[in-house]
């Protein structure tokens, strides 16, 4: 229908001299099927034929994907490709958006996520989430981490709660920095610390899966490196799905990478394969920085 060249798409590395002739990629191609290996044997989360609508507009088209136990799956793609929307389906955070409708089969350990009788409260305790912008509650550091265990009634005694808080902060690699000021407001921490506090808050309720929605986009490179290390450590215990804007980050932290384009899942493969030997022209165009 159209042949939008990269010249019109705009910002293909302005450093490139104008004379270089570039291959034309039709960025509006309708993707029929996902290439690569979207499914796996040891699936923690499995999604089949997922469609998401905002009112009339369709944001996700027929996506099928598995996320295996104790693996980190990175979701990449240009802005507005639907990767965040897809991520928010996994713990039904999309329910909070008026007019959002999800259909398809989504299961967590074989149990339907969108069943009519499913209670989102325990679901979200099992599938935790870390957001783009660090969002500590305007409470003390201790209260931030203890919030989840408290509302869910996980700790029956104060000592138990203390233990959970300490354990979570240690796992988030924050304990040594904050142990002397647990009663200070969480909002007083630096951006990177705040984000690690949010991770500690999420793991305090012992989730099985952690969803991360561009967790480093608001952070400086050093803080980003800390979080990336942390993600790698957390993989031992949790299944992690991370949406990221940065291809380097995806390459560093994930085992598998899924590339989304205009609401379609284009390609899923081992991270190495995706970045060294992309099988779809769109993936290749994206990872070589020709649009995005």
């Amino acid at each position: 229908m159209n042949t939008m060249t990269l010249d019109t798409a705009g910002h293909a590395a302005p450093a490139q001299p104008q004379t270089v002739e570039r291959e034309t990629v039709d960025t509006q191609t309708v993707v029929k099927e996902t290439v690569g290996q979207p499914l796996c044997d040891n699936a923690k989360l499995s999604m089949r034929n997922v469609n998401v609508f905002y009112g009339e507009a369709q944001a996700i088209h027929d996506v099928s994907l598995d996320i295996g136990r104790n693996e980190v799956v990175a979701m990449i793609g240009p802005s507005g490709c639907g990767k965040s929307t897809f991520l928010r389906c996994l713990n039904r955070m999309n329910d909070t958006i008026e007019g959002c409708r999800v259909d398809g089969d989504l299961t967590l350990d074989g149990e339907a996520i969108y069943g009519p009788k499913v209670d989102v409260v325990p679901l979200r305790a099992r599938v935790g989430m870390v957001f783009q912008k660090p969002n500590p509650f305007p409470k003390t550091i201790y209260e931030n981490v203890a919030y989840g265990p408290k509302i869910h009634g996980i700790a029956s005694r104060r000592a138990e709660l203390d233990e959970i808080v300490e354990d979570s902060l240690r796992r988030a690699g924050l304990w040594n920095e904050v142990k002397d000021r647990l009663d200070k407001p969480g909002t007083g921490l630096s951006g990177g610390q705040q984000q690690r506090l949010c991770i500690a808050r999420a793991i305090a309720v012992s989730p099985e899966v952690i969803l991360m929605d561009e967790p480093c986009s608001a952070l400086d490179p050093i803080a980003t490196a800390r979080i990336e290390e942390l993600i790698d450590e957390l993989r031992e215990k949790y299944t992690i799905a991370i949406v990221t804007h940065s291809m380097q980050q995806a390459a560093r932290v994930s085992q598998r990478t899924a590339y989304f384009h205009l609401g379609h899942l284009v390609e899923v493969n081992d991270t190495e394969t995706v970045f060294t030997n992309p099988q779809h022209a769109l993936t290749e165009a994206y990872i070589t920085g020709r649009f995005g």
Binding site: D119, P122, G153
Partner: protein
């Protein structure tokens, strides 16, 4: 940590979460229910308030009248020609009594007759006088005239709607009989209550009207608008477009925000002490009322005008400035016209506030008993809300009805004003 250990930890946490779920969802339901109940309460109160007022006041727009055969007999009237002087002294009461006696020839005895005469409003003679003055040729002739009935008759007739016996507080058995008789023959009817809209205040409910109060309100609002709108807009322009950020402007800001929350009665005290006692302006005058309400509504107008100015994007100012316009020209030629709809909306809302205000006007003596329609801003006057307050204090049952009707008039003015503010905002709102 081993894999089984990990899943054990998870499952014990799972169990604990499951245990608490029922209780948490119950709490959720209760909380939500409380929210719905609060909204419902609010809506219910609005409905209750309006039905209460309308059910009490709707009757006041119709007034019971008696059809009498009136003979303008010069002998009874005691005049031989129709001119202003003689009409002032003419005995119209006698004419009415004559006619009532003719209609009920069987009534005899002084107290019975007095009872009979009391059926017609004590304002009826003035109605006849005005008729005769307008049509001098009626002298000596006879005609059928509808005259306002006394408020007790009116109350009784209206109460017949609710029960067969009716409200008999001040109506005797005998009079009730006459009323039933007249009702049956169609000589007693409820007709549109023009007096309510054309008269000033009166001690007699059937003669009392809201015209004087309405005109008073209008004059007061006029003074308020003429003063508060230009001053408010000018203040907003200064604060938004010129004022440097310093202690003085901070002080002005704090003052404006604080004045917006000062009780209105305090403005009344200001008006009494300064405008009336110090400057010796006339009491009860719309001029003083308008001044007091100006001070009261200024904060509202300044705040909304500033918001309107803020909403004009800086790019417009920069564009005009770039053309070499002076600051004043930028403001008056470009910014102000764009901000005007927002300012007008604010002004209408401020005026609506002023229209409903009562307490400060009591302080400056606008509680006087005003029969005449005020002709200017220095004449003694009252305003609609104060008229409502005065009538609400009156013991006659018929005044309850009139109070409610006056409230209906006031509320409809307010609704029109607020609706036009909303309409104006919708219509002229510009999205940048």
């Amino acid at each position: 940590m081993t894999d089984s250990n990990q899943s054990n930890g998870h499952s014990s946490v799972r169990e604990r979460i499951e245990q608490g779920l029922a209780r948490r969802h119950r709490k959720e339901k209760i909380f939500r229910g409380l929210g719905i109940a609060s909204i419902a309460f609010g809506i219910l109160v609005v409905a209750l308030l309006f039905t209460d007022i309308i059910s009490k006041g709707a009757g006041a727009f119709r007034q019971t009248a008696i059809e009498l055969q009136i003979t303008y007999d010069p002998a009874v009237l005691g005049i031989d020609k129709v001119d202003h002087e003689s009409l002032t002294w003419a005995n119209f009461t006698g004419v009415i009594r004559e006619s009532l006696r003719a209609r009920f020839p069987e009534v005899s005895g002084r107290s019975d007759k007095r009872e009979l005469y009391s059926m017609v409003s004590s304002g009826a003679p003035f109605t006849l006088r005005d008729r005769l003055e307008a049509n001098p040729e009626l002298l000596g002739k006879t005609e059928q005239v509808w005259l306002a009935a006394d408020d007790d008759v009116d109350t009784f007739v209206k109460s017949l709607d609710d029960s067969k016996e009716g409200f008999r507080g001040r109506t005797s058995e005998m009079m009730a009989g006459w009323i039933q008789q007249l009702l049956k023959s169609g000589e007693l009817k409820r007709r549109f209550n023009t007096a309510f809209f054309t008269n000033g205040d009166s001690r007699e409910p059937e003669q009392a009207g809201i015209r004087a109060a309405l005109v008073g309100s209008l004059l007061t609002l006029l003074v308020t608008l003429v003063l508060s709108f230009p001053i408010g807009v000018a203040a907003a322009i200064y604060l938004e477009e010129y004022a440097p950020k310093n202690r003085w402007t901070d002080l002005i800001e704090v003052n404006i925000n604080n004045l917006a929350a000062v009780p209105s009665i305090v403005f009344g005290l200001l008006g009494l002490a300064i405008f009336i006692n110090f400057f010796e302006l006339p009491r009860s005058a719309p001029l003083v009322g308008g001044l007091v309400l100006t001070l009261m509504t200024l904060p509202t107008i300044i705040i909304s005008s500033r918001a309107a100015l803020k909403a004009v994007p800086p790019s417009i100012r920069e564009a005009a400035m770039g053309m070499g316009a002076s600051r004043m020209q930028v403001v008056f030629h470009h910014v102000l016209p764009l901000a005007m709809p927002g300012m007008l909306t604010g002004a209408i809302i401020g005026m609506a506030q002023a229209l409903g205000e009562t307490a400060p006007l009591l302080m400056i003596g606008m509680v006087a008993f005003i029969v005449d329609v005020p002709g200017g801003v220095t004449d003694p006057a009252t305003v609609l809300p104060v008229q409502i307050f005065l009538w609400a204090d009156s013991p006659e049952r018929a005044f309850v009805e009139r109070t409610s009707a006056a409230i209906m008039v006031l509320l409809s003015f307010l609704i029109v004003m607020n609706a036009s503010a909303v309409w104006l905002r919708k219509k002229l709102e510009r999205r940048w």
